[in-house]
Symmetry: C2
């Protein structure tokens, strides 16, 4: 292996899912065991539903349909919330691997919902150092730079509580949070980091330090932190629980999602580096239509005759899975589509058409919000001038 900086990527091939890579087929029940997390149960769902109703909101489709399906310590979060103790949210997005796509909206949309439920502070980290450290092909920091601004606009467009949300770039905020990074770094041994992330001799020393950066926001407040994210990010937060209390903070909790299936197949993680498998947040209606028609993996039969006779397979049909996981709110409507498709009454092209319209609506609404974000300089508010943002720029982590 001459290729030193690629070592970590290569070393990860034995594991199916790591924070940096997700391979083909994902067995989500197996992942629960692998990551040492718990399935969200009926009791949890009930509390969140009751809370939603109090806020005049519905139970979120991502919960109803099991897109967010696992957690660490969600019950503790609920207990604390019942006792009116403060909690806060933290999530993030690492820029640099490509344009943001539909799958990237999922955790942010859900985070917005949780912020509404708990009416709490939210920290969004943009680790603009991560891709440079972990991807050999990203040779210059400027290669990441071009994505950072766009990504932050997309995230802002999701529409968080402007006075309770702080979006920050690692490279810009490190001057303030450095004392916290030091406290965390001192608590993590190389052995622990190696066991958690598979680091080895060829890993660079920036990669090895990086967990401090992703863990730091879990300690931005002396309160319970809940992290909505995709399940592949959980190892960082499992590690946090080893030492958080020694530093005087709470063990963090997570609420974890599956990956949105790629257009080209209903398993694995949608990837923007594979253009054809992703609906980008900047795609126009026509591109969306073309992409879904051309690439969306179909569970339909090979000929019209066979389809009418045997019906389609919803389990592997990406259009159906997308409708089920996040696009079609109405349970009954979805069930009618399932029956029609599996009976052969609904054709693959017709199913795609339904999916296309839904996706076009989501993306159109997102792009409309994007215009607002630019017009109102909302990024500035979340990063600098909002109440929480302002406080965070005046914060002193050197206690």
């Amino acid at each position: 292996m001459n290729d030193k900086n690629n070592a970590l990527e290569q070393s990860q091939t034995s594991k199916q899912v790591t924070p940096w890579d997700v391979k083909d087929v994902v067995d989500y029940d197996k992942l629960i065991k692998e990551f040492g997390v718990t399935k969200i149960d009926e009791e949890d769902l009930k509390y969140l539903k009751t809370l939603a109703q109090k806020r005049g909101l519905d139970e979120h489709i991502f919960l109803r349909r099991g897109l967010f399906y696992a957690h660490m310590d969600l019950k503790k979060v609920i207990e604390l919330h019942k006792r009116r103790e403060p909690i806060f949210l933290y999530t993030g997005r690492s820029p640099g691997s490509g344009e943001m796509h539909l799958g990237h909206l999922i955790p942010f949309q859900f985070t917005k919902y949780l912020q509404q439920l708990f009416d709490c502070n939210l920290y969004i980290e943009i680790p603009d150092d991560e891709k440079f450290l972990f991807k050999k092909k990203i040779e210059h920091l400027n290669d990441v730079e071009e994505f950072v601004k766009k990504d932050i606009e997309h995230i802002t467009a999701v529409g968080f509580n402007v006075d309770k949300t702080f979006i920050f770039r690692t490279s810009k905020y490190i001057g303030i949070m450095y004392p916290l990074l030091l406290k965390i770094a001192k608590k993590i041994t190389f052995s622990q980091a190696r066991n958690t992330f598979g680091f080895e001799g060829e890993s660079n020393i920036g990669q090895i330090f990086y967990p401090s950066i992703q863990i730091a926001p879990t300690m931005f407040e002396s309160a319970q932190c809940l992290i909505p994210c995709a399940i592949d990010q959980n190892p960082y937060f499992l590690l946090q629980r080893d030492f958080a209390q020694k530093l005087g903070f709470y063990k963090n909790a997570t609420i974890l999602s599956k990956f949105l299936p790629a257009l080209t197949g209903s398993t694995g993680k949608m990837s923007a580096s594979n253009e054809e498998s992703a609906i980008l947040l900047t795609d126009n209606a026509n591109t969306i239509k073309k992409k879904i028609n051309k690439y969306a993996f179909s569970g339909g039969q090979e000929t019209l005759e066979l389809h009418r006779e045997l019906g389609g397979n919803c389990e592997i049909d990406v259009s159906f899975q997308w409708l089920k996981m996040f696009l079609m709110e109405d349970d009954e409507e979805l069930e009618q589509i399932r029956i029609a498709y599996e009976s052969g009454k609904l054709l693959s092209g017709e199913l795609k058409k339904i999916c296309i319209e839904k996706v076009q609506n989501v993306i159109e609404e997102h792009q409309r919000r994007l215009e607002e974000v630019r017009a109102n300089n909302e990024v500035e508010i979340l990063m600098k001038t909002g109440i929480l943002a302002k406080n965070m720029w005046e914060k002193n982590f050197l206690d």
Copy 2:
């Protein structure tokens, strides 16, 4: 070994000298081989002497007497300087282990001299993170904080060129130099860091990242960097040479000193953590006198009669060694003292008296300068408002 954070300190016991610890007896010729450096030769000395004369300065006592005795690439620095190509200086001081003592002045005094010779920029890093990461007993960052301000005042009192010197604290400057840290960190594998510094599984991930921080200032300019420092710091700068050119920078050069012998014995490193073995920069004349009279290891004989008969041993006498290494400029005067002491004519108490006066003069002059520094707010100039300092706060390392 339950004591995880102490692992690195413990792991270093097999090596005599590391950047974090220096054991008892030091064989400086052996160190040259161990650190892969070269002795300063007559030719080098001659060039520096000629240069000094051009500036109206004498050959420095630290060079004449061999306190600075080794180097990496000093000849290249000299070649570049002959060709009128720019060079710059970098040195530093890690605060937190105790008050600054006489030995700590040495590299700074010599750095000031080199700045005069080369009329060049100088960067002084105050890595206020290092001791917290490497010393288990320093549990709070605030334990370091109390030393930082004092240390910077002492360093400023040495009297550098105010418009060509920049003193910075790691924790304050990291927001600006972080892109450079990332570039460096990506070039150092764990294996390399382990081989250089002896890191192991129990090392914390902050320690492992730390070399990036100590190396970064060698790349503050696209020019030749020369680092005056004690020889135990050389491993960082040996490592820098493995990848500097790949990042588009020069391989750094060093000029290396021995350690000032502790009062209690003429070998090893003077340590402020052992109060009795160090003359602190804040000691008054009386304390200096008491400390030297009480603790200075003597090469004299046990009784007056024996001393008159056999004479003293200059090689192990700390007072004589201090005079030789850095206190007594005049060669002839020193030689007369040597003859008198070795012949038994000069008594131990008399030799100590000569040493005491010289040390009192150095410390008095330093404390006088310290008053000036405070009165003129010179720290502010070197850290913020001087020409170089100002430029560095506006610098963008994201190329």
